[in-house]
């Protein structure tokens, strides 16, 4: 089918206003939140219902046209980067909250619903939706599901995967399945939902999502503690966790980050080598006692200053400073590269030391802001795109940083995903057998590899069965790859 026929087919499904095909308009969609990679899709479609999504996918399947689903497009790993000669399915018009069920603690939403809307919807009843990625005012639940988004409070409450209880999914062949029990726990069978959440849009498109909501905590207390360096702040983190306390969040920022944040949003942070923001929530009596313990631990680790948020306003100011950290880098550097790596908490100190060494070696500044409680680092590599070669150097340094994370027993990514960006690093973490076995799952869901192809796996395996018209992979054509 040529492009003209495909446009016609899509217009029949969606009406003329639901299909974008003019070159200049398509350019808007060429990248997601990671702007290093740009691909202009053949078509962008904007379905308004699950049925339309299903019809669009069915049409793609019938014609062997690859497609990529996208929510708000805020992802930071190029997971929603379009594919050439492919269709970008933008789900922002599926933004209804379909059901609020307080007695069962569930909310059912469409994938384009913005993360923060869920908490806003149920706040009046005393509930909230726990996963809170920094992008929560713009990122969609469908995108959160695809990436298994974290957030500052996932140390205590878990990730998106722990809060998605069911999903209606359009599979890459256009059929619809309901996975996870939704409101009923323990559906028999494989944990297909657990495998689907975090699969970065490569296994299908969720069109209806059942979320778990939680009671708002009785008490919340937040403090900010300043330290001479990240090592002392790290000592406090170990002391808090080692004391059997599970805070809602522990965030760390180094001096470079503090400077940038001050310049950008002026939260009035103290000048320090490192700052910790610690938040406790839960029953009043528990929070009160443990908060005193946290203060004690910070003092024992030579905190130069401890500020306790006196009210919601001051707490919001602490968090404003933290959540502005990525964007604030623009105030101290022309360009910056956001890295996302994980190390075991006990390896934080050693890893930060390694990052400092690498920074010196490459002659590029690295700002560190991270979820200290779960060892999830976000080193920001600062560079100047106008200096020839510096962008490449920054990317190389960012790569060295994740390798350091792996060397210390960690992971390539804690919440931003592999996407397009980190495919090349996958063999550093997984053997080819590991990745081949993962792709068995891919083959079960998407045998023709039309659903967000070219992501996660650097060496895509081919799936054995080939019914229907689809394009043979060039590697297979050349006889260089086995059927899998």
């Amino acid at each position: 089918m040529d492009r003209g026929q495909l446009i016609e087919t899509m217009q029949e499904i969606l009406g003329p206003e639901g299909v974008i095909h003019k070159r200049e308009e398509l350019r808007t969609y060429e990248c997601d939140g990671l702007m290093n990679y740009r691909v202009i899709p053949d078509l962008v479609v904007l379905p308004e219902s699950a049925e339309q999504v299903q019809q669009v996918v069915r049409a793609c399947y019938d014609e062997g046209v690859p497609f990529v689903a996208r929510g708000s497009g805020t992802g930071l790993s190029g997971g929603a980067l379009p594919v050439e000669s492919g269709v970008l399915i933008v789900l922002t018009r599926l933004r209804r909250i379909l059901e609020v069920d307080i007695p069962n603690g569930r909310v059912v939403v469409e994938p384009g619903v913005i993360n923060v809307w869920v908490s806003q919807e149920v706040a009046g009843e005393g509930y909230y939706y726990a996963p809170d990625p920094a992008s929560q005012v713009v990122s969609s639940i469908g995108g959160n599901l695809a990436e298994n988004s974290g957030g500052v409070h996932c140390l205590k409450y878990g990730f998106t995967t722990n809060h998605v209880m069911g999903a209606e999914v359009v599979l890459p062949d256009g059929s619809v399945v309901h996975i996870g029990g939704g409101k009923s726990p323990d559906a028999p069978g494989y944990e297909l939902l657990g495998a689907f959440v975090g699969s970065e849009g490569t296994l299908g498109i969720a069109t209806k999502i059942t979320l778990r909501i939680l009671r708002q905590p009785e008490a919340v207390r937040t403090l900010l503690a300043a330290f001479e360096d990240t090592e002392e702040a790290g000592g406090a983190v170990s002391g808090i966790i080692g004391g059997g306390i599970l805070p809602a969040a522990i965030e760390m920022m180094d001096s470079l980050t503090i400077q940038a944040v001050e310049k950008q949003v002026s939260p009035g942070f103290p000048e320090a080598g490192a700052i910790l923001i610690v938040e406790l929530d839960g029953p009043e009596a528990e929070v009160a006692k443990q908060f005193d313990q946290v203060i004690q631990v910070c003092e024992n680790n030579n905190a130069s200053e401890i500020r306790v948020a006196e009210d919601d306003e001051e707490r919001a100011l602490f968090w404003k400073g933290r959540k502005a950290a990525f964007g604030a880098m623009g105030s101290i550097s022309n360009d910056y590269y956001v890295q996302d790596g994980v190390v075991p908490r006990t390896e934080l100190g050693a890893t930060l030391k390694k990052i400092a060494e690498l920074s010196e070696e490459y002659g590029l500044r690295v700002a560190n802001v991270f979820h200290a409680g779960d060892g999830n680092l976000h080193p920001l590599v600062l560079y100047d795109n106008d200096v020839p070669g510096e962008a490449d150097k920054a990317e190389e340094l960012a790569g060295e940083i994740v390798f350091a994370c792996l060397e210390h027993g960690g992971s390539l990514t804690g919440e931003h995903g592999i996407g397009r960006d980190k495919m090349k690093y996958m063999p550093q973490m997984f053997t080819s057998d590991d990745m081949d076995v993962m792709q068995l799952l891919r083959c079960a869901f998407d045998p023709h590899r039309i659903c967000n192809p070219g992501k996660i796996f650097p060496t895509p395996r081919l799936c054995g069965e080939r019914p229907g018209p689809f394009h043979m992979h060039p590697v297979q054509k050349a006889g260089l790859a086995e059927n899998f």
Binding site: N104, Y190, E191, A285, G409, G410, G414, I418, D433
Partner: protein, 426 residues
């Protein structure tokens, strides 16, 4: 059993002569007798055994503590029992990171005992004794504290598996926060040995809490159970953070109990508030840590005995009243005795049924018809073979059966792993 056609000698060469033995009647899986029991000592040996089995087309049933061998349909065939019992080590426990990596054959009791030395636990508390880590994952076992910690899927952070063709693969890792690659740890959770052998598993841990209080209420009417559950879950007066919320109904009386764990002032405040709240529902009794431990040991035993039909019913928690009514009503009509227990805060109810086969089958079918229509499930967890023959133990499967089958066929195209035990005849 006939063993002359089996590659006994080759198996002995892989795992050592002492670690291959002829199966006995005790090794039967739901009436199907295997030929050999093989006990590899390492993941490499496991891989070699699986390669050999794959080549010979032998049906393999992985086994840990053997506590869940009654779960599922009788297998269509079993040649080898692959026992993980020799792979029973903790590979790595880092208290500061609150993670543990273990081999699959490690007994849960041994794991918890070892973790307790560092004041930590794995937050999964199934009721059966003698189960292993691998069995826990394969059967997706859970207990009362799932209300606080979640289930296996929420706590497993990495896995190493051996597939039917001997391929060894891992997924996840040893950090809690990790989104690199597909989450195969979750896929294997509850897969009942049908996708491959679980060889290792890594988990997130939690600190053991300082102390506890238990609050329970005895009731005469089944409807009072859901009332108490909803009151504790959604009270606007006080926000309760419960570690467990469990119920029992047997011999025309019921009990509902809440567990509060944490530091002294918090559990004190929470449990007192609960006693106050529940005053209007009956006489609420309060137990301290030690009395509470004793209470829960007895309270959480499954409501069935050997030979009974055991059901696990999944339903929205707010439907608890309807679940209790439907089981009791169906049982009464069929002349079957029914005892109930369950995770009232979650929506999982267990039913133990005793009576004649016809009546037992009628009760399962009636209850299942209602639950499945409402999006839930009724799984027969244990039953005499005479009853299993007349029922699909997993119940009707939703629109995901085809996908389930495709997953199975990618991982085990020869249907050699526990064939027939899983849903849809997988």
């Amino acid at each position: 059993m006939q063993t002359q056609n089996l590659p006994t000698e080759e198996l002995q060469n892989i795992v050592g002569a002492d670690n291959v033995r002829e199966a006995t009647a005790e090794d039967a899986v739901e009436g199907v007798e295997p030929s050999l029991v093989v006990e590899p000592g390492t993941i490499e040996e496991t891989s070699e055994v699986m390669k050999l089995a794959g080549r010979e087309g032998l049906a393999v049933s992985p086994r840990g503590g053997g506590t869940k061998m009654g779960l599922g349909n009788p297998p269509t065939r079993v040649d080898l029992i692959l026992s993980t019992s020799r792979m029973n080590e903790i590979i790595e426990h880092v208290p500061g990171d609150q993670i543990v990596r273990t081999q699959a054959g490690l007994k849960m009791e041994d794991l918890q005992e070892s973790l307790a030395e560092s004041d930590q636990l794995l937050g999964i508390d199934p009721q059966e004794e003698g189960g292993t880590v691998g069995g826990l994952v394969a059967a997706n076992s859970s207990g009362p504290r799932r209300l606080r910690y979640g289930t296996v899927r929420d706590l497993i952070i990495g896995i190493k598996v051996v597939l039917a063709d001997g391929t060894v693969a891992k997924a996840g890792g040893k950090v809690v926060k990790n989104v690199a690659g597909y989450d195969l740890s979750k896929l294997f959770t509850g897969s009942l040995g049908t996708l491959g052998v679980i060889a290792e598993a890594n988990f997130r841990l939690h600190p053991i809490r300082e102390t506890a209080r238990t609050v329970f209420v005895e009731v005469d009417e089944p409807d009072q159970i859901p009332e108490v559950a909803q009151a504790l879950t959604h009270s606007s007066a006080s926000q309760f953070v419960l570690d467990a919320l469990e119920m029992r109904w047997e011999d025309d009386r019921g009990v509902i109990a809440a567990l509060f764990e944490g530091i002294e002032p918090a559990v004190e405040a929470q449990s007192s508030a609960a006693v106050e709240l529940l005053r209007s529902h009956g006489e609420a009794k309060l137990l301290g840590k030690e009395d509470g431990d004793e209470f829960w040991d007895d309270f959480t035993r499954r409501p069935w005995a050997k030979g009974d039909v055991a059901l696990k019913i999944g339903a929205p928690p707010a439907d608890l009243s309807a679940v209790l009514d439907s089981v009791r009503g169906a049982a009464e009509r069929a002349g079957v005795e029914a005892r109930l227990s369950g995770h009232a805060g979650i929506g999982v109810t267990f039913a133990g049924l005793s009576g004649e086969d016809d009546g037992l089958v009628a009760v399962v079918e009636e209850v299942r018809e209602i639950r499945v229509r409402r999006g839930g499930s009724v799984v027969v967890q244990e039953a005499p073979l005479s009853v299993k023959e007349r029922l699909e133990v997993w119940g009707p499967v939703g629109d995901y059966l085809g996908l389930t089958r495709r997953v199975k066929e990618k991982f085990d195209p020869g249907y050699n792993m526990n064939p027939g035990r899983f849903l849809g005849g997988i």
